[in-house]
């Protein structure tokens, strides 16, 4: 995996992690928008269930809102620390990026097994976040020595 280490400013593996964090920022942006205007987010296809539906639909919307709040209060700050840390080549960036990638591998898998999710959402979550996060973990692992010396 030497090609993952070769680059002028950052090794390729770190670039993969940085680009993945940018993709993840887009997810948090959508979650923030959902919390501001849930119904509009459902119309856009960012969320699946409405709070105006029947009891079952409201309960699933509660799960989605819980995920959105957890993303904004916990995962978003970590993503910011990871992004700044990686750009500044700090070890804390390396650690927090791994934390964020762990969340972003777990949740698409959760969506994959959830019956009520539509296929497009699952595919988007896997392709935009889970697979890049796995690549990001590999990229960081290969370049772990880069952070030990910074």
């Amino acid at each position: 995996m030497n090609y993952l280490k070769k680059n002028n400013r950052y090794p390729l593996g770190i670039w993969i992690a940085i680009v993945t964090l940018i993709l993840i920022f887009l997810a948090w942006l959508m979650q923030a928008y959902s919390l501001l205007d849930w119904e509009a987010a459902v119309d856009l296809g960012v969320q699946n269930e409405r709070f105006t539906g029947d009891a079952a639909e409201r309960a699933i919307a509660d799960v989605e809102r819980g995920v959105a709040i957890a993303d904004i209060v916990w995962a978003l700050p970590l993503t910011i620390v990871a992004f700044v840390g990686l750009l500044r080549k700090k070890y804390i960036g390396f650690i927090t990026a791994l934390m964020v990638f762990a969340i972003c591998v777990y949740f698409p898998l959760f969506y994959l097994f959830r019956e009520s999710m539509d296929t497009e959402t699952v595919l988007a979550a896997v392709l935009l976040w889970a697979i890049p996060s796995l690549l990001g973990i590999v990229g960081l692992w290969v370049n772990r020595g880069f952070f030990n010396s910074n």
């Binding site: 819980g66 957890a70 762990a102 777990y106 969506y111 994959l112």
Partner: protein, 148 residues
Amino acid sequence: MIETTILTWIITIFGAITFFPLFGAQLVMIFNPKGQKAKDLIIGKGADWRDRTHFKSALAFAWADIIIILPLLILGTALVLSGQEWGYIIWISLGVLSIYFSILFWIMEKEYTYKLAGWLAYYTYFWGFFLYWGIGAIVFSTIQIINH
């Protein structure tokens, strides 16, 4: 090599007490998702609509926990106990996930589970232990890595 201390063992044992009953319940959910035991352990004995909706989430959480959390907990703990830095990094990642779930379940479930379980069970093995373990694992692992 990072030295194993008494705190390492406390967090290891606390992690086992916290997570393994959950994994047991998740396995029941995976192998017999429609059964009464899964309903009692994971979904709760609420109204019919609640059982149907929580079933969809509970089965997904069960699969994701068994595929990701269980192997990471075993691997991370094994690496920590053998003094490897990567074990602590895995513990930190698990701690982050554990806190993430604590926030998520506080929002989506507290109104049901708190009433069902009572405050003592809720703030211990129903919900609290996952938050406490997550915070403990992150703080302890970070200190161990910094001091290494």
